[in-house]
């Protein structure tokens, strides 16, 4: 069953209240909530997650569509069951180089890794950059275009805020969002698989 709640133009907390009502009316299933601002998006997402629902957000011309799954049939209907276990792949990159050894080789390998993983199936959900890994997502990075392409494909790009500050790169971040240890740990715990090159 599909339900749509349009809360565009409503001030907080009304989007959350309408979402709450709509969620209470369904036993299980997917509820799509359409909002038109970041505050409402984050509030509705928070509320749904606090009610143990899973949330997927998609942007559409400045609006946000939140797909909220309630109950145990959390998968979107069309997905085959065997896909479970590979749904949430997180790539954890804790260095700007791949492998231990020659630095130049490490850089070439990391470039190849990032280029190749764009086409990987199933597609990773998130990429987390930690320590010198954050350099890859900042101005002057040779692999910036690959990462921007990933973001366009819907992969979430998270860079550690403490690391960006440490290297003085916070203002030079060119792709994805600044994240924090809290969110990073949550992402790793929730992941079905964590890949670290």
């Amino acid at each position: 069953m599909r339900n749509i709640v349009d809360v565009k133009g409503l001030a907080c907390p009304q989007p959350v209240i309408n979402t709450k009502k709509a969620l209470e009316e369904i036993e299980e299933g997917i509820l799509t909530v359409i909002v038109d601002n970041v505050a409402a998006r984050d509030n509705v997402r928070r509320f749904a997650e606090s009610q143990s629902c899973t949330v997927k957000v998609e942007e559409d011309n400045g609006d946000y569509h939140l797909e909220i799954a309630k109950g145990f049939s959390c998968e979107v209907e069309s997905k085959p069951m065997e896909a479970k276990g590979n749904d949430n792949i997180v790539v954890y990159i804790n260095s700007n180089l791949m492998g231990v050894g020659d630095e130049e080789l490490g850089r070439i390998l990391m470039g190849a890794f990032l280029k190749t993983i764009i086409g990987a199936e199933p597609q990773p959900k998130k990429i987390i950059f930690i320590n010198s890994g954050v350099k890859l997502a900042t101005e002057g990075s040779e692999v910036l275009e690959s990462i921007i392409e990933m973001e366009k494909k819907g992969i979430e790009i998270l860079s550690c805020g403490t690391c960006l500050n440490f290297y003085g790169l916070k203002k030079k971040l060119r792709v994805g969002v600044v994240s924090n240890m809290y969110d990073i740990i949550e992402s790793l715990i929730e992941a079905d698989k964590v890949i670290s090159p």
């Binding site: 907390p13 505050a39 805020g161 500050n165 916070k170 994240s179 809290y182």
Partner: protein, 308 residues
């Protein structure tokens, strides 16, 4: 003119003679709680706070009323005015008049006149390196008020947040003048970090805020987690996030509290390091139980606020 519109101050100060200046301020807003009598009290406490934040003594006030007389019962307005008047009495302020207009949306507040010695005016400028920062009321009123609007808050949290919003900053202001502090502001619409930043803006100083020392209303973090966050919190965060350096291990919901717009919030006071402990003790003895040292002013040419 001692304090005008050049800095982000809510009140103006005009010198009348060598030992007397007047403070003038005005503030009014739409209801935040359902109880009209309590709304009157909160609106009055909020308007008076601008005088207290400067260390002044409010003397007279005038009511400002916008009321939908065609659709709302006049008894509601009477209760609001009674709440405001009772708060003015508690503050030792005389109501000298007022003005009302018909409006589709109810609003109430005060225009307040107070006095102060011209050399004792406190503003948000003047904090020195090594000063401790004292906050006198718990944070989270914006988030809890949103939860009230959303029908999610229970009776006891409504009662508690209402009590904090209606409490005067009078005692804190008097203690602050007695201790002799360097700077003060009241925490309102821009949230704690927004107003804290006004204290260091353009001064070449920074601040460290110790989050575990900050008094927070019970349930505020919980409501933040449930998405009961006012749009103003997100806007405040967006506006100041580049000047703030937040320890990434801290809960993002707790960070929201630091940007949460406060209604009739507490005073944020910069006091010399060696006086700080004593001042907190005095504040608590006088019934301001939530008063706490929450941070320190530091040397920092980049004017950042570190949150740890």
């Amino acid at each position: 003119m001692i304090v005008g519109m050049e800095r982000a101050e809510d009140a103006g100060v005009y010198k009348l003679s060598d030992d007397l200046a007047i403070i003038q301020t005005v503030d009014f807003f739409t209801p935040i709680v359902d109880d009209p009598y309590m709304f009157g009290q909160i609106a009055a406490a909020n308007a008076l706070s601008d005088v207290y934040a400067m260390g002044g003594k409010p003397l007279t006030a005038m009511n400002i009323v916008c009321f939908p007389i065609k659709t709302m019962d006049i008894s509601i307005l009477r209760k609001i005015l009674k709440g405001g008047l009772d708060k003015m009495k508690e503050a030792g302020v005389t109501l000298v008049g007022g003005h009302s207009v018909e409006d589709s949306e109810l609003k109430y507040g005060l225009s307040v006149t107070g006095t102060i010695h011209p050399s004792k005016v406190l503003t948000n400028v003047g904090a020195k390196v090594g000063d401790r920062l004292i906050l006198t009321k718990p944070l989270g009123t914006g988030i809890i008020n949103t939860a009230i609007k959303g029908g999610m808050a229970k009776e006891d949290s409504i009662e508690m947040v209402t009590r904090h919003m209606a409490s005067l900053n009078k005692t804190a202001s008097e203690i602050m003048q007695e201790v002799e502090v360097n700077a003060c502001t009241d925490v309102t619409g821009f949230g704690l970090l927004g107003h804290a930043f006004e204290m260091i803006q353009g001064t070449g100083k920074g601040m460290i805020i110790h989050i575990s020392n900050i008094p927070v209303l019970p349930e505020a973090v919980n409501f933040a987690k449930m998405g009961m966050v006012p749009g103003g919190t997100y806007r405040n965060k967006e506006f100041r996030i580049n000047q703030v350096d937040i320890d990434s291990a801290l809960s993002p919901y707790l960070i929201d509290i630091l940007f949460d717009p406060q209604t009739s919030g507490g005073l944020l006071i910069a006091v010399p390091g060696k006086k700080a402990q004593k001042m907190v003790k005095r504040l608590r003895e006088e019934g301001i139980e939530d008063a706490a040292i929450i941070g320190e002013v530091m040397e920092d040419s980049e004017e950042r606020i570190l949150v740890r």
